[in-house]
């Protein structure tokens, strides 16, 4: 693996930074916080125009067919501006799941629409009493002929409020191993018996929702891939989601360190810039150590998706653990360095701090990932 970027990758990264800095200003991000959809169709269309929606979608389905590492460069830049909206849900979650689980026909149908910016989609996994593994998928289904009636509730579903399509993990078979008997339903949010509630969470840049199913009826043709065979595709998606999130968190951490360093150079107290005091300087140095280390693991993990699939799940858990911890700590340290203004609503640091907290609790928390790694390393003995 080479950590240096190709000239095409440099270009992609630079143009992403420019576009995002111009369009996702603090004012705009805050406006989207107030918008229950979290995005505006005109902006979505502009992003689609850049080709980002279909970055990793194969060319035959209207995408650019680039690698996950390329997508990672953009996610990194999005993290720097704490970008609001359903990009991650659509382009990482739904796209990866459809790519892995979908039939040829489903891929042609959905991926084309995602790539062209005509479909916003998300994935609903977790339920009350969050369990990160397959045991957590309990939403029940009752079969009536060719139809399934769904009953239950999904929680912490990102961007369900703005989605045209929600892919929902449902237990279609009981009395089997946890990883079996899970099906992925392609849910139109307008279906009768589907109710969506926006959750009042800290980070309104990434809207989380509760999605309830009150005996909503779906036909067996509205299942992604094969009935009962959904879990392994979810696992693949989760690995990539954790890596994508790590890159986003890396971007956030990098930006937060810049905020801290700039402020430490200009804020004068006791006649000196506060950055000349070691209590502040050493906090910044510790942040740099962790940000640079996060860069090593997050970029490596992104590369493994296409470059070394045997290592990818391990790399994903390492990245999520390390980078997640870095981001939350760096945002907290920066808040402290900023003093009173850091505690205000006006300063942007709270956007980062809240995103960090939300991200760490997404797709398996630290305890979960460390346990995955422990059991992997224990087996090595």
């Amino acid at each position: 693996m080479d950590f240096t970027l190709t000239s095409e990758q440099e270009m992609l990264k630079n143009s992403a930074r420019k576009f995002l800095n111009n369009n996702f200003t603090s004012d705009y991000v805050r406006k989207m916080w107030e918008n229950s959809q979290g995005y505006e169709p005109e902006m979505w269309a502009q992003i689609a125009e850049l080709g980002w929606m279909g970055l990793t979608i194969p060319e035959e389905y209207g995408g650019l067919g680039l690698t996950f590492r390329d997508l990672g460069l953009i996610l990194h830049e999005m993290g720097r501006v704490v970008m609001p909206g359903p990009f991650f849900s659509t382009v990482v979650l739904a796209t990866e799941l459809i790519k892995t689980a979908g039939s040829e026909e489903q891929k042609a149908n959905y991926l084309e629409r995602i790539a062209s910016g005509k479909l916003i989609a998300t994935v609903a996994l977790y339920e009350e009493g969050v369990e990160w593994g397959a045991e957590g998928i309990k939403l029940t289904s009752t079969r009536k002929g060719d139809n399934y009636s769904l009953l239950g509730k999904k929680l912490f579903v990102p961007d369900a409020y703005s989605a045209d399509l929600i892919i929902v993990a449902v237990r279609t078979e009981n009395q089997v191993e946890a990883g079996e008997g899970i099906s992925l339903f392609l849910v139109d949010p307008q279906t009768e018996g589907v109710e969506i509630e926006l959750l009042p969470t800290m980070d309104q840049g990434r809207k989380l929702c509760a999605v309830s199913f009150l005996n909503a009826i779906f036909s067996s043709t509205e299942v992604l891939g094969e009935v009962g065979k959904g879990w392994s595709a979810i696992e693949t998606m989760l690995i990539r989601a954790n890596i994508g999130l790590s890159l986003e968190m890396l971007g956030g951490g990098e930006k937060v360190l810049e905020i801290a360093t700039e402020y430490a150079k200009i804020r004068i107290q006791f006649g000196q810039p506060i950055g000349s005091y070691q209590a502040i300087k050493h906090k910044c140095a510790e942040m740099l150590l962790q940000v640079e280390s996060s860069r090593s693991i997050a970029e490596y993990a992104a590369w493994t998706v296409d470059g070394n699939p045997q290592e990818v799940s391990k790399a994903a858990s390492i990245a999520k653990t390390y980078v997640g911890n870095m981001y939350r700590k760096a945002a907290a340290a920066t808040l402290q360095i900023l003093g009173g203004i850091g505690f205000s609503w006006e300063h942007d640091i709270h956007l980062y701090y809240k995103r960090a907290l939300a991200s760490e609790a997404m797709f398996g928390d630290t305890v979960f990932h460390l346990e995955l790694l422990a059991s992997r390393w224990e087996r090595k003995l």
């Binding site: 140095a285 740099l288 290592e311």
Partner: protein, 402 residues
């Protein structure tokens, strides 16, 4: 983590491992050797082994043939260093000579100095020590007062150095001295290569926290040093000293990652073989989490190191970012050792020689030795100053600014 390595490099590694299996010295058992206080005996084993490495073409691989090297690649050097770190069970005494002295001479020394000293470093004939710190000059290295006065074709050196690792075994010393006391403290320093057998050099071992003596104090009493043993220009020694310190932070990482992996593997064994409350401690969720986190950090450090090496492989000089690695490995090693102590409970305090001691006291020894990691080679606080000021561009504090 397997980064893709090209087939030539893989073949080189295999060839070296094969050579190593036939040439690892047979003396002593490794467990004994690792905690043996008999430094002189270890140094002799090292010299003989280093000579074999040299004769077989495995020393100074990436350095020019002119200076006793092999004109090979840096990657080959990295491979050999990693494998020695994993497989050579005794102490290596080349950390300072190959790691610091030779690269400093290569980038700043005269042609004669390179030709005279580098081949002898590579063949194991010369072991070196680093005479930087003094009683009143530690973190504030430039405050040092050991003096050198030029008289004709030689310098006459007087003063004292302290905490000099392997000073009692070394043949030569890189010595930073004050040649002009009338100018600012960074401006009047010079960098000398001193023969430890010169008349007037007295070395006294200092017993340290582990009970053994690895470091020393050195007294210089009218010690004569020929003028051609000056590196760089007179009064420009600070620049040379900084060069040495940059190499110290970067190059040592190559052998440290495999060592930390060994420590972690032993820690996993220890946790699996220790029972508490009727079950192996590896089954205890608290320890599973702790150990997994240590492995996470080690994997991250390994990748950091690959990134650094990629920079070096492009031929760039190590920069102040090297301080990141220094902080990372020293603190990680301390966390690993502390975890081992927790797992052993009351057994953690037993030293070599007790039949109850785990691994014949190696854990206890390494735990104590690890305290030095965040002090030697520049303390963690100093590394953070370097990162803050030279990487992030934060201002110096007023005292050091003036």
């Amino acid at each position: 983590m397997n980064l893709t390595m090209n087939p030539d490099d893989q073949a080189y590694r295999a060839k070296f491992l094969n050579w190593l299996s036939e040439n690892i010295p047979a003396e002593g058992t490794s467990a004994e050797a690792k905690i043996s206080g008999d430094w002189c005996a270890q140094a002799e084993i090292f010299r003989k082994f280093q000579r074999k490495l040299f004769d077989a073409g495995y020393a100074g691989i990436h350095w020019s043939k002119e200076y006793g090297g092999q004109s090979g690649t840096l990657m080959q050097h990295i491979i050999v260093t990693e494998e020695l770190s994993t497989n050579y069970p005794w102490k290596m005494f080349d950390g300072l000579s190959v790691g610091l002295v030779a690269p400093t001479l290569l980038s700043r020394g005269t042609e004669e100095q390179k030709k005279e000293f580098i081949p002898k470093i590579l063949s194991g004939e010369h072991i070196w020590c680093q005479g930087f710190s003094e009683p009143n000059a530690g973190s504030d290295l430039a405050n040092l007062s050991t003096s050198a006065v030029r008289i004709g074709e030689r310098y006459v050196v007087n003063g004292q150095k302290v905490w000099t690792s392997i000073g009692h075994l070394a043949d030569f010393c890189i010595l930073v001295v004050r040649t002009d006391p009338t100018v600012g403290k960074h401006k009047g320093l010079s960098y000398l290569l001193v023969d430890m057998k010169s008349p007037g050099v007295t070395v006294r071992p200092i017993k340290q926290i582990t009970g053994e003596a690895e470091y020393n104090e050195i007294f210089f009493d009218d010690v004569e040093v020929p003028f051609d043993r000056l590196v760089g220009k007179e009064n420009e020694g600070w620049l040379i000293a900084i060069t040495t310190l940059m190499f110290e932070r970067i190059m040592n990482e190559i052998s440290i990652v495999p060592k930390l992996q060994q420590t972690l593997d032993r820690l996993i064994d220890l946790t699996s073989n220790t029972t508490r409350y009727g079950q192996a401690m590896i089954k205890d969720p608290v320890y599973r989490q702790k150990i997994a986190l240590l492995q996470v950090e080690l994997e991250v450090m390994r990748l950091n190191q690959y990134r650094n090496l990629a920079t070096l492989l492009k031929g760039e000089m190590p920069g102040p970012e090297g301080s990141i690695g220094k902080i990372f490995w020293s603190e990680l090693n301390q966390r690993m050792q502390e975890t081992a102590m927790e797992i052993m409970g009351p057994y953690s305090q037993l030293l070599k020689g007790s039949k109850y001691a785990e691994d014949n006291g190696k854990w206890a020894f390494d735990f104590l030795r690890a305290r030095g990691n965040t002090i030697e080679g520049g303390t963690t606080e100093i590394q953070k100053n370097i990162i803050g000021e030279r990487v992030l561009g934060l201002p110096k504090d007023t005292v050091r600014r003036n």
